[in-house]
Assembly symmetry: C2
Homo-oligomer: 171 residues x 2
DNA sequence: AGATTTAGTGACGGGATGTCAGATACGTTC
DNA sequence: GAACGTATCTGACATCCCGTCACTAAATCT
């Protein structure tokens, strides 16, 4: 509000709370990510191509809204409700990713392992990596970040496809 | 201090600062992790076995000191100095892991990719996953967490070994 | 013009962090 | 055992941040 022509209390006319404000911001980013994830989750076309596309748009969205993600993640531990919201935000991806993994395991594309914990691990990797790379002012180069997380996702979920995939990822 | 027989100001006789206290706590946990990581980083014996052992002790240490890790990670964004300390803490692992990856790439054990970003991604995964699993009161089962991150590390770094490794990981 | 709704602000209360002068306990020296 | 110096501790204060509220100003309606 200090950078505004309005006073601090005016803020509270439009938002319940600092944490409520964070929720509002997060909701806007969420739709972008969910939309981008459809490419892989919808299960049309090949799995590897879909995953590659979904991760690419994920990195794009995170690159664009990095500071918001960092702000929410930073503020979450200070407020029980916001922490729950953030946990749910990540948890929702855990579930859909886990479901997709189970599908691919049934189809023989993916090795057999417990889908949920691995989905959780991969999603935490994305969150931590993207916030670290794009959260502050000087952002890391998008392509480097993308290759790294793409590498990990592909070799974990589609290792049989690795030989073909690796060339497309490049070094 | 409220749970103590001493008053609040007494705290400041022993610590500069709340954040200084966090640094002290973190230092104690760090030695445990570094010690456990030697199995893999020292490069004695086979790489897969070393990594497996290092990850096992990492999960042990995190399970033991989870709340400390969460407390530091939560407090870091609120203080520039502590945030730097936390960044350095994670960054130090990025570097040693990256060096080890480069070695294994030269030896043909690991596919060719940029070691540093992948190391960063894997380490952020560990941090996020371990804090989420062991940070709060009710801790997740150790073995589930361990299998998940082990799966990701092994399939990313030693995919050629995957067939043999997967059986030992189990589902 | 008068009334009613909307928009905005100064001033306050509450909670958390950190500081400081003074008090208390303890050991040392004569 | 009295005086002194030192280590330990605390009540009270200053500061900052969040959120609220009574009150004012502007805009819209009758």
């Amino acid at each position: 509000m200090a950078t505004t022509e309005y006073s601090r209390p005016t803020f509270y006319l439009y938002f319940n709370d600092l944490h409520g404000f964070m929720e509002t911001l997060l909701d806007e980013v969420k739709v972008g990510i969910v939309e981008g994830a459809r490419a892989w989750l919808s299960n049309e076309g090949d799995a590897v191509g879909g995953l590659r596309q979904s991760l690419t748009t994920l990195v794009d969205v995170a690159h664009q809204h990095g500071p918001i993600l960092k702000a929410v993640a930073d503020a979450a531990p200070g407020d029980a409700r916001l922490e729950r919201v953030w946990e749910m935000f990540l948890g929702s991806f855990d579930e859909v990713v886990s479901a997709r993994i189970a599908q691919d395991q049934a189809a023989g594309l993916t090795p057999d392992f417990e889908p949920l914990p691995v989905a959780r691990a991969l999603n935490r990797m994305d969150a931590g990596m993207l916030i670290q790379a794009f959260g502050s002012g000087e952002k890391a180069p998008k392509d480097v970040v993308l290759s790294a997380i793409m590498r990990v996702w592909l070799s974990t979920l589609y290792p049989f496809d690795a030989a073909a995939s690796i060339e497309q990822i490049g070094r």
